[in-house]
Each structure stands twice: as structure tokens, then as C-alpha cells.
Amino acid sequence: MLHAAVLAAIACAAAGCEGDLDPRSPAHVRSAAGGHARNAPKLMREYGCISCHTIPGVRGAHALVGPSLAGFASRQYIAGRVANEPDALVRWIMHPQSVKPGTAMPEMGVTGQHARDMAAYLYTLE
């Protein structure tokens, strides 16, 4: 019994270690985005993201106007236009029209810090 528990603990620790080595792991990317994911749900409700997107973990976000953001961290592209990287995501959130002119996602006057916070949250959505 003790044996199994110790083995399980070691296995968990090993998995954690493996995550830290991956440069695209959530913790690494979060710090790259420079944001605080825990601020994001409130921001998403205030700016209005929830009125167009379904976003896991954000109360009231179950809309179908824009694409669902479930699994966003695993996606290769943002808006089918640019590679999914922290800087590109922050730029997309702040100025979607400059990344993809004519898209339905509006300029919402998102500040730099707020965009980084929301990007950090999106990168937790594996």
C-alpha cells in the first residue's frame, strides 16, 4: 500500500517536471504574456467577450456569435490568420481589425494590461 502511494507520488512529480521543461507549458506562456489569468473572467464580462464567445470557466459565456474558445491554448492559429503566440494574441485582442480587417470582432478599446490578463487566461484553456 505504502509502496503504491510512493510510486504514485513519484509519477506525479515526474509529470510535473516534464511540464516545466516544455517551453510552451502554461506557466511559461503565462509569464511570457505578462498577465494575471485570474483577472480575466471579470474583464471578459465587462468588455463583452461573453456576448459572442463560449469560454470555459467564465460565468455567462455560452454565446455562438464567434468561435468557442475551449482548448484555445492548443490551437495553432488565431482567427485562421496568425500563429498562436502570446504577442500575437495580445495584439489580436487589442486591435482585431488591424490583424484581420473586416472581421466581425470589434475594436473594444482593450488596454494592454487587460489584454495580457485575458491572453494569460486563454492559455490555461488546454
Binding site: 468588455y47 463583452g48 456576448s51 454565446a63 473586416g102 466581425a104 470589434p106
Partner: protein
Amino acid sequence: MQPLRALALPLLAVLATGCTATGSQDVLAPAGPQAAGIARWFWISFWLAVAVFVVFSALLAVGLRRAHGRARRGEANELSDRAATRLVAWGGLVIPAVILLVLLVLSGVTDRGISALGRGAGADPLTIRVTGHQFWWELEYLDPRNPHRTFTTANELHVPAGRPVRLLLESADVVHSFWVPNLHGKTDLVPGRTNDIVLQADTAGIYRGQCAEFCGVQHAKMAMLLVAHPERDFAAWWERQLRPHAPPADPALQRGQQVFMGNGCAVCHSIRGTEARGRVAPDLTYLGDRLTLAAGTLGNTRGHLMGWIANPQGIKPGTRMPAVPLGGQELQLLADYLHSLR
């Protein structure tokens, strides 16, 4: 309306948490004389009830102790006939009758007090006709002496602080109920009948209210904000509401207006100064100034506005507003135009 707009996001964040610590929608945080009267009645009844509870808990405790003591001593656990009769007569008849009489009188006094406040409003108080719809509030500001100064808005009720306002409550479809807890009790809006209340916000501020009688599938998302202004600001607000819009000078806004006119929006909605004169949906003339959209459901931001227009049924399933298919660019232009209405 600049200070109000600056307050909007943080205020809405607070309101959205439903945080009673701020007193929002709190019946026990009265902000006007009618609500104060009701709250006073509540507290007196409450403490009376607490007193009764304490007394009877004590009686129960005493009774249990005595019963225990007597059982231990082998005595019979009964009151004498006289004691029992006295207990029932006082505790079961006299005292309850007195308490109920007190509550009855209190209730009558409170009610008459509120009516007196209504009569004290004078012969000609500011009067607003509130018509309940599924699922929004139509607000017609009446000026009986100058009918051309009457106008209609929706969902955000503006009043002057510190003086009584009379509300004529009517319904266009089913029974709704008007309830701004900080200011007054609930009063139904019954189709075919006009109910009449007077309320007063003592200080300037924003008071949230909502429909309090189940009226259909989106009853829960039929809120309103009552905005009380200092007197001079209120007069300025009224003047502004009367001004119809001139055609937009900016070509982008012109295109936005064309999207509005060309997609059926004008059939239901009205914008003073344009051909849009629909009566079955909220007036949008000064939508850019409003704090919320869809009857208090969403903050008035570009993101929420576009999400709402693109798919109202996704946010308020069963609302009367249909989804109108618009391209991404059209949606942007329309939202820009609507936000320019300030």
C-alpha cells in the same frame, strides 16, 4: 453625462456581483421615504417576532426543566387547572391579540403614510408612464402643460433626486411588476389597468430594479436602472432627450445608419430625427448614453452590443428581437452608429 459614463464600468461590475454589501436592490437599505416607511414596519415586526421567540423559548426551557425536576422527584407533571387556564388565556388569547393588533395598526399607519407621501406630491408632480413589455420597459416622460415636450425612452428611468415622481404603470401584454427595492415595494403592471405609485429618491445615484412578476421566459432578465439626478442635471437631461438627431456627418456613421434602416431595425425601434418610428421595441435615440443593454442584461460596451445584435436569442432566448444576418463589417458600422447616438 460624462461623470455617469465614467462610473459605468466599475459600477456595473459592482452591480453584477449582486453584492448586497453595497445596498443595491436591498429592501433594508432604503433610499427614499416610501422604502423607509416599509423598512421601519419590517424592523418593528422583526423585533416583535424576536421578542415572542425569546419569550416562548424561555417558557419552553422553563417547562422542560420543571418537567425534568418533577419527574425526578416522582411528582406529576401537570399544571393546576387554574394555572393552565391562566396560561392559555394570557399566552394564547390576550397577548397574541395585542401583538396582532399592534401589527395591524402598524401596517395601516405605514400604508397611510405612503399614500400621504403620494398626495403630498402635489397636483402636478413629474409623471412618467411605465409600460411593461416582454421583456423591457417603455418609459414615456409626460409634460401635461407642453405635450410637445413629451418623449419616450426605454429601460433606464431618469428622475430628479429629492422630489416625488409619479409613475403610471401599464402593460402592453402580460402582468409585470415594477420593483426598485431601495425606493418602494412591488407594484404590478396589469394589462387593461393603470396602477399609480409615487416614489422619491432622496439622493442622486443609480438604483437597480427588476420585474417582480413572472412574465415569461426572460422575466429574469428584465431589469432596469433608476438614475436619480440633481435637479439641474435632470433638466439638462430632459432637454437633451428632446433633441432629435441630425443626419450624421461622418460617412462611416452614415453607412452605419444605412445598415440600421436597410435591415428592418426601424420597423420595431425608433430613433428621433430619423425615419425610424417603430413602437414595439425600445427607443434607441440616446442608446450611446445608456449604462446597460437589453433591460439591464449587458453592459453597454461595443463587445456586448455587437454580440447582442448578432444573436439576441443566444443571450435572451425567447426575446422578441430576431437575429438579422449581417456581415462583420456591417455589424461594426451599425454598432459604431448606435454608439454615436449620444
